[in-house]
């Protein structure tokens, strides 16, 4: 068996990147479906789309759960995208690591806020 730990760890090759590539696709498809669901609800509101109708869309429990799933999906999707951008343009490791940590903090903060708003309804 090849030695693959510590200083001998290989970080390229089979499977590396595949999980994130697939996750980006799956989360994308999920969010596209969610967009369609919201759009259908918005377009089929009879009369004007005031506060009651708009907030009403997100008040249903099934919609809250679905929106929550989409927020988590968005978190992962955006993380993979931003990681790719930093990886392509920022070569110095210290700078790139800082930007990656900031990106994750930014995303987790946004997700937390969005979930808080959702469950206040």
């Amino acid at each position: 068996m090849t030695v693959n730990f510590g200083t001998r760890r290989i970080v390229v090759g089979a499977h590396y990147g595949l999980r994130d590539w697939l996750a980006q696709r799956v989360t994308a498809a999920l969010m596209a479906i969610f967009t369609a669901i919201v759009l259908v609800q918005v377009l089929t509101t009879k009369g004007e789309l005031g506060y009651t109708q708009w907030a009403g869309i997100f008040a249903a429990q099934w919609m809250k759960v679905l929106t929550f799933i989409v927020i988590v999906a968005l978190l992962y999707h955006v993380w993979v995208g931003m990681r790719d951008i930093w990886m392509d343009y920022v070569k110095p490791v210290a700078v790139r690591l800082t930007l990656q940590v900031f990106s994750i903090a930014w995303l987790v903060g946004c997700a937390g806020w969005a979930i808080q708003v959702l469950w206040r309804l």
Binding site: A32, G50, Y51, W54, A55, V78, G81, L107, C110, V117
Partner: protein
Amino acid sequence: MTELDTSPRAKRPEFRNIHALSDLPSYRLPLAGVVSILHRISGALMFVLLPFIIWMFDMSVSSEISFARFTRAFEGSGGWVLKLVVLALIWAYLHHLIAGLRHLRMDMSHAAVSKESGRRSAAVTLVLSVGLTLVLGAKLLGLY
């Protein structure tokens, strides 16, 4: 190389400067390339504006009063700034979504990854995303 290679090698030419201002602008980016870099830019734009998006969601969904404040923010003297930012977000989301669906199609169809098909789907992406942006933008600006 190895110790067996004793012949003197000519040094490889080094290209240090990307001539960003003289050479880069003269390259012709194919349509698919335009769609691709805009896909990245639209994604980064939405990343940066994510707190603003959540703020809009918060305001619009929390209470009648905050909803009224939200709609009022678009009128008044500073309202056009907000509308411009929202228009940019509308474009960013539409382009990112449509270019993303194009990606998924290319993942699933062998015919979709030919040069001609790539050019055509890129053109469709641009027409659709800009077109829908104009339609929704007109609604945003109160033109209908």
